[in-house]
Point group: C2
Chain length 171, copies 2
């Protein structure tokens, strides 16, 4: 089968959000084993001017949700960005994955040359062709925030390895 | 134009390796401005059992080089993995990008269902179809190591932002 906009995106989105949820399980288990408040991890930042763990998860979900909605031309659900706990973050990922299943793959196919306009910062927008938007915006953003979540947990001693990050590859 | 194995991979590889090289420039400039030895950054790890900065760069290059070579069925150049300095790491990225230009895009196209067998650890191999190998192995690995390089520099105060990581999006 020839690669398509749907095949080049949906399996990656499902895999990486699934792995991200698995990171949360491991982070939570680590906090419980070491008897510290998981909120320490949830609010941790790798640098004072980087986003905390909670925002990494929220934005990872939003890269997928907004990316798919814009490409497929469907409405994305609105999330409140009020998650604080690991349970709430896990629920946000689950909600995103559930919504993803409602989008017909066929709506993504053929969107290579579709103009996608999206907000950049608070006061400007950018327009890219569908394929470029997927490759140079949605995918890099998703992988970035999943990797930052991983990095925050690993930096704090959570037992994660490359196999957890790549887990979907063996599914 | 319909997305293809070449269009879904080569522009991402070029963009992310170009951005990675730009991270190195910023890391180097930061060390010079603060008057500390850039080797401190080059050997920095986010956790004692994570790979140092140098290895993140080497592996980012190798994900691209080996991924393309296996998909396109061409020979990848051998690198010695002996880079220590920022200049040497920058040269490795440049070498990888130069080699990439020698691979005809047409050799990547149509490799969706090609069996790709690659080493996993020292004693085993895995076989995946070309499209899955790109989506669930090559791309996640590349983005991971570029993101870890970014995280190491940001954690150490280097002035990088999301715009540097996404820079290719505006090229």
């Amino acid at each position: 089968m020839a690669i398509s906009m749907a095949s080049a995106s949906l399996p990656i989105f499902r895999t990486m959000l699934g792995n991200l949820s698995h990171f949360l399980d491991k982070g939570m288990a680590h906090a419980q084993a070491r008897k510290f408040d998981p909120q320490v991890l949830a609010s941790y930042r790798l640098a004072p001017d980087m986003l905390p763990f909670t925002r990494q998860i929220q934005i990872a979900c939003d890269s997928v949700k907004n990316g798919v909605a814009r490409l497929a031309g469907v409405e994305a659900p609105k999330f409140e960005d009020n998650e604080q706990t690991f349970e709430e973050l896990r629920a946000r990922i689950a909600k995103t994955l559930d919504w993803l299943e409602t989008v017909p793959a066929a709506k993504l196919d053929g969107t290579e040359d579709k103009d996608i306009t999206f907000p950049v910062g608070r006061e400007s927008t950018r327009t890219m062709k569908g394929e470029a938007y997927l490759k140079h915006w949605v995918l890099p953003n998703l992988f970035f925030h999943v990797s930052m979540a991983y990095a925050i947990l690993r930096h704090n001693g959570v037992e994660l390895g490359k196999a957890d990050y790549l887990a979907g590859a063996s599914r």
